[in-house]
Every structure is written in C-alpha cells, then in structure tokens.
C-alpha cells in the first residue's frame, strides 16, 4: 500500500484494472450482465479487504475472485439459458462492424468449451498467467491445467475448421 488515501488508491486501481477484468469476465462468460456482476462483486470484495491487499498483487487477487465467483455462479445457475440480450439488439440496430464480428467470433467459440477449459484458456492465453499461476487461481493441479489448455486449444482449432473459418 502507498501512503495515499486508501480510497483514492482503490479508485485508481479500479480504473486501471477494470478493462482487463471485464475482458476476462467477458471471455469467460460471453454475457454482459454476468460479466458486469462478476467484476463488480469482485471489486466490492476487494474494497472491503483493501487495507490488507498489496497493490502489486491486487489485480491477481481480484482476478481470482472473478473466477471463483463465476464458478459459484455457474453452479447456481447452470441450468439457465439466456433467451437474448439487449446489447446484441442494440448492436444489431447500429450495424455490425468488423470488430463486433471478431468479438462475437472468439466469444462464441469459447462458449463451446467446457467451463474449466474455457477458464484455463482465458487465464493462460489472455491473462498470460503461467501454468502454475493458473493452477493456483483455479485450485486445480498443474496436470489438469496442461490437459485443459491442450484440449481447449484442440477444440478451438476443430471448431474453426468445422465452422469453415479455416478455409481462408
């Protein structure tokens, strides 16, 4: 912690960490409302514990909360199937861009992976954590991380082939 006002310090952290955490949540969930809830809830927990959190480790700490919250949430709501999202309609209304297509594509592909594989792939290849760090964050073994990453990559490659994206 710095000698600054803790609230100001926390506010700075939120501003800095929000894009990366939202992106992590978005890649894992593919849902706006859920991503928002996960990150917001994680920040609230971090706020409560802020005096005990070392600034250099804050991002990893909150990212771990996001992942754990998602695991808890998934257990509670895994039988829910969203029928639609407002944001998708709004985006459709203003017209698609190449960025949106791109975003939709990777998020859609990730949704095909099982929960654990998706988390491992996102933490390993987006958050750039080491295999050991991913294992610690998810509370699983190193072997399970390696296996999930390998299968996840293979599945993504197969999916792009199946959907014909590989023909370019």
């Amino acid at each position: 912690m710095t000698g600054r006002d803790p609230r100001a310090d926390f506010a700075d952290f939120v501003r800095e960490a929000t894009p990366a955490l939202l992106r992590t949540a978005w890649l894992i969930t593919g849902r706006v409302d859920q991503s928002q809830d996960l990150v917001q809830a994680a920040f609230v927990k971090a706020y409560v514990a802020w005096p005990r959190i070392r600034r250099a480790e804050a991002l990893a700490y909150v990212r771990r909360i996001v992942v754990n919250e998602h695991t808890d949430s998934w257990r509670r709501t895994r039988r829910e199937v969203p029928t639609g999202e407002i944001e998708a309609r709004q985006l459709a209304a203003v017209g698609k861009t190449s960025d949106v297509d791109h975003r939709d594509e990777i998020v859609r592909l990730l949704r095909h992976l099982p929960e654990q594989q998706r988390k491992v792939v996102v933490l390993r290849y987006y958050a750039d954590l080491s295999e050991r760090q991913v294992a610690d964050a998810l509370g699983i073994s190193l072997g399970a991380v390696k296996s999930a990453a390998s299968r996840g990559l293979a599945a993504l490659r197969d999916l792009t082939t199946l959907t014909g994206d590989d023909r370019r």
């Binding site: 706006v32 809830d37 709501t77 829910e80 985006l91 791109h102 975003r103 792009t160």
Partner: protein, 355 residues
Amino acid sequence: MTMPADDASVERRLRESMAHVTLPPTLTVQLDDIVRAGDSILRRRQLRRRSAIGVAAAAVLGAAAVPVARHLAASTTPAKRPADTPATEYVGPGIAALMATFPSGAHRMISISDVGRPATAYRIGSVDARGPEPVTVAMPQAGQIVTGHFGGALFLIAGAEVNGYGLRLVFPPDRQPATSVELQWGTLVGATLLWPDAVALQGFTPIGLVFVDSNAGTYDALVMPSPPAAVATLVFRTQPSPDDPHADQLLLVRSGDRLQLNKPGASPPPQPIGQELAGISGGAEAPRVAYGWAPAAISAHAPGQRKLVVTQRPAATGGVLYAVTAAPAIPKSIEPLVVTVTCGHSSVRVPMAQP
C-alpha cells in the same frame, strides 16, 4: 477467427484474438456502486461485532437471563416476521424458481436466501440495514408462481422447472425506458433465481411481465391439435399498487383455439387465478393465463386474406371476455398472427402460435 494448424500458431492467434476482443459498450462497472456496497458491508460487520459483544455480556448473567430472553423472543418475533405477501398465484406448467428485478443495481442491493433446510421458502431482503423489511415467500409448488414487489423491484418465484419461456417486460406509461427497450425479452428458464439487470433497463421498474412460450410450435401441438392455434402467453398481475389497489386487470387465456382477453373490471377485484381457470380453460390441457392491465385497445393483423374477429361478451367472472379468432387457419409458412393489446401508453404484442 482463423486457426492455423500448428500449436504455436494456434496459441499466438488465440492470444491475439483475446487481447483485441472488443467489449460491448454497455459493459462497465460503477465505482460509486462498488464503494457504496463495500461501505454497506463494512457497516454491517461493525454492527455484528457490537452484537457479539452484547451477547458475550449477556452470557455473564447466566441462567436467570434465559427465561427473560425466551419471553422477549416470543413477544418480538411476530412483530418482526416478514409479511407473506404473494400477489398472484398461477397454476399451470411448472416453471423454475426465478426472479426478475430491474432497478439500478437492485441485484446488488437485494439478497435472496432459502428459509429452512430443506428450503421451504425464499426470504427477500435488503443488504442495507436501512432497506425495506424483508419478505418471505413460501416456495411454490410445481406449476405455481408468486409475484410481488420488493424495494421497487419486481420479483417472481415459481416452482419446478420448465424450458422455453420468453419474458417481456411492461413498464408504466410515465416511466418507460427508451422506445427500443419498451418490451424486452429476458431469461425465464432454470432452477435458480434470476436477476436480469441489463444496463439499458437500469432505473426502470417494470410493472408487468408477459411470458411467451417459445416452444409454442411443439408444445401447442400437444394440447391444441386443431387450427387456428391460439396464443401461448402468460401475463402475471403484479401486486396491486397501494395507490390503486383495484386497478383494472386484463386476463389473457388460451382456451381451445382462441386467445381470450378477459377484463374482470375494477370491482369486484379479480378472483384468484386458479378459480378463473377452472371455468375457462377446463379439460386436461395446461391452462395459459395472463393478468395485466385493462386494455384500452385491441388490434390485430392477420396475414393474407384471413378474417380476424375480435368479439366480447360477459365473462363468468363478471368482467368482459374478449376473443380473437382467425379464419382460415394460419399455416406455419407465413408470418404469425400478432395481436397488440394497448394499455395506457404500453402495448403488448401477443404472437399467436401456428398449428
């Protein structure tokens, strides 16, 4: 996204894709909300610590304190017991327990917890000690739904599970979101409580819900083999407003091959929905019922050269029964018949399923 063949290239391409993924513009978090919720937790922790200190001090009093404590508990518990206030019960195909609430950040301010082990009720409360008194709603049986308001939020809890229902929201005329979100689809599936909190709806509280069976094609075929097929729609009356407890109600019922809109009228208030059903849908088919608001207008468009008839007659319940029929039947190959029911400034579009 193109995935090259070798692993190293796949990794590189994946990293690149994820690093440049574009977030939806509405995906944000609010620092103010975070700080407010965090402060609320810290305050409650402080209160709990004070309570724990009080308990420790009381224990010193020993056995003599116990009868006093029991007496106090017996006299104070009823006064603090949450009101059991289900507003409407619906009996029909089972729907999983779920909840919808849309005020800004409400899902972060309202907590739901099970009561009893195994759970026999849901307790809906505020995480803020200054919030409204909690409400306890008995866990509905399969096929029953209860709705009500809590802290400006609309909640709905149903028993058992069903798939394939869509949800539209109805907003009060003077408090509507942007036109594009006047009626929204939500999630109405699953065995858990549901907290849709779309950014576009934050700050807007729906006053009604319209449920549409998105499996209408297959489901209706089971219960309604003869054309023209009718609507598979559920609208649930929300808890009566304290300002207008006798507001007119609209009842939508699928009866045989017709969509019926029943306006029970302001007085007497509508009968319990289960009783209404007994006289209207009958038979073994799953009843589809809707409660909403008094319709100011009903309009409908029938594709092709079909004749559409809207009739009304006195209902057995004392109100007016509207019926919409189309002839000849509408085949699947053309656009569905949509009936628009207007209540004040709100319109509910009711698609009628095809055979």
